[in-house]
């Protein structure tokens, strides 16, 4: 398992790293076989429970950060959202077009510490459950990744 690789904060003019969800034939097979494992765990590079993600302070209050696990096109993109002392984790893949919610590295569209917008086509997701309450995929949800917060350290939790 490759350890967490925090995506660096963007520099002016920098374009975000490529690579999105593993929406290849293997994923289709996974879906068809209906494994009991949560979908996010079946993705390439999915971090194991207990894997350290970051210090809480790396995700300022009301913001979002992305952390990469693995390398290349099949990198696992973990989205971490924070409001106050709470953090939530999701796979950074919009259910509308299966693209990341950001188009530039760590540049996310946020609203009132409680909503995150997909930059591509404006789907609106709630922090607390990843539910899309408005936009082209309203009613769908981001794939939740359980997080644990202990002693100001964020790590992968248990489903």
């Amino acid at each position: 398992m490759v350890g967490p690789r925090p995506d660096p904060l963007p520099r002016p003019g920098e374009v975000g790293a490529e690579g999105v969800s593993r929406t290849d034939a293997a994923l289709a097979v996974d879906v068809l076989t209906a494994s009991i494992e949560p979908a996010w765990r079946q993705r390439e590079g999915a971090p194991a429970a207990g894997t350290r993600v970051c210090d809480l302070e790396e995700v300022p209050d009301g913001s979002a950060r992305e952390f990469h696990f693995g390398e290349g096109r099949d990198v696992f993109r973990l989205l971490v959202l924070r409001s106050g002392g709470k953090v939530w984790g999701y796979v950074n893949v919009c259910p509308h077009f299966s693209t990341p919610l950001n188009t530039e590295s760590n540049k996310f569209i946020l609203f009132e510490h409680s909503r995150i917008y997909c930059a591509t086509h404006c789907a609106v997701f709630r922090f607390e459950d990843g539910y899309c309450e408005d936009g082209p995929c309203a009613g769908a949800s981001l794939e939740r990744v359980p997080l644990a917060l202990e002693a100001s350290v964020v790590s992968i939790g248990i489903d």
């Binding site: 374009v15 975000g16 490529e18 999105v20 969800s21 929406t23 290849d24 994923l27 289709a28 097979v29 879906v31 068809l32 076989t33 209906a34 096109r73 259910p95 509308h96 077009f97 299966s98 693209t99 990341p100 950001n102 188009t103 530039e104 540049k107 569209i109 609203f111 009132e112 409680s114 909503r115 917008y117 997909c118 930059a119 591509t120 086509h121 404006c122 789907a123 609106v124 309450e133 408005d134 936009g135 082209p136 995929c137 309203a138 009613g139 769908a140």
Partner: protein
């Protein structure tokens, strides 16, 4: 110009940016809406857009049904890819996180005369303003997704109720392909459109080799499209990394003139669409393409296009969802067309 105050009466019951809207007009009962320096107003027949240029308020008028059909696509597509020209004067450009509204900017004569105007907004407030206009300006019975023969002239006249169900209809999201367990449904519950009564409705039979049982999937795309209840509104039917198949059914006129920020591939699956293709920047005509069943076209990244279909037809739009494409085309690192002859 008098400034409008945020008006919660036009906003949905959720957390969202405040929209600037007026009280209902005492005669037409429609509200006015403000987005930056743009002011939007509708009456019985027309939507009037005004903006500042050359020390005065410039104005542009569109038929209300044309404006609402275009606005519906802009909202449903989340500002889509690149430019959504409502007509030859007004439109939006998706900057992915921000959105630019323009008036006359891509109309060569207006732009050269100094009468054009462009203003950028955060996408959330722009989107909420567009949705609020749709909620207030679509009368009962008017479905901006429907073909004119299906929805009639209910858009005209003073305010007469609303049609929230049509403009906020549920749109399915597909993770991989419709019909896969856990993915989007196959539209079995929707009726076959009147134009596709002759389309076979049986699903393919899958005979897998040993070891592949339950691991293959296929569905009847023609049947799926024959049950589409909207026009000019692509939906995803397969996702393979950044490669997206977005087929759609088309009747009457594409309500917007789409300015590409990437190459789009069109594959005509049934009937015909007549495409007008023009320069993205100036609007000068570049080509006319009549696509018949089986025809394939790559719409370049530097054009705008609008389609016309007398009979409802099936079109497969093949999109490349790579996030860095607009910058690659703008910088010249990629040519605007995929093939050099």
């Amino acid at each position: 110009m008098a400034m409008l105050e945020p008006n919660v009466a036009t906003a949905p019951a959720k957390t969202s940016p405040p929209v600037k809207a007026s009280a209902p007009d005492p005669r037409t009962h429609y509200r006015k809406f403000e987005l930056g320096q743009f002011l939007f107003e509708r009456d019985e027949y027309f939507v009037t857009i005004t903006w500042p240029a050359k020390g005065a308020r410039q104005q542009h008028c569109m038929s209300a049904d044309a404006f609402l059909r275009a606005l519906m696509r802009d909202v449903a597509w989340g500002f889509f890819y690149g430019w959504v020209n409502f007509d030859g004067m007004f439109g939006s450009r998706n900057l992915y996180g921000r959105v630019e509204f323009f008036a006359g900017r891509y109309n060569e004569a207006y732009h050269k005369a100094g009468l054009s105007y462009v203003e950028q907004f955060d996408s959330p407030i722009a989107m909420e303003t567009c949705k609020a206009m749709l909620r207030d300006w679509c009368n009962a019975g008017f479905d901006p997704f429907a073909a004119p023969a299906e929805t009639g002239a209910t858009w005209a006249g003073v305010k007469n109720g609303d049609n929230i169900a049509a403009i906020e209809r549920f749109r399915v999201a597909t993770k991989r392909m419709p019909g896969i367990p856990g993915d989007s449904p196959l539209r079995d519950e929707l009726p076959v459109n009147r134009a596709f009564a002759d389309v076979a409705q049986d699903e393919p039979e899958i005979k897998a080799e040993p070891g592949f049982e339950g691991k293959l999937h296929a569905f009847n795309l023609f049947k799926y499209l024959s049950r589409s209840d909207v026009t000019w509104n692509p939906s995803v039917t397969s996702v393979c990394r950044e490669s997206l198949f977005c087929p759609t059914t088309e009747e009457y006129i594409l309500p917007i003139i789409h300015g590409n920020d990437r190459v789009e591939w069109f594959i005509q699956l049934s009937d015909e669409i007549d495409w007008e293709v023009a320069d993205k920047e100036t609007g000068k005509p570049r080509a006319r393409v009549l696509m018949k069943p089986g025809d394939v076209a790559a719409m370049p990244a530097d054009i705008r296009h609008q389609g016309f279909a007398t009979k409802r037809s099936m079109l497969l739009v093949w999109e490349n969802a790579r996030m860095d494409l607009p910058k690659l085309y703008e910088s010249g690192k990629l040519k605007p067309y995929p093939v050099e002859f």
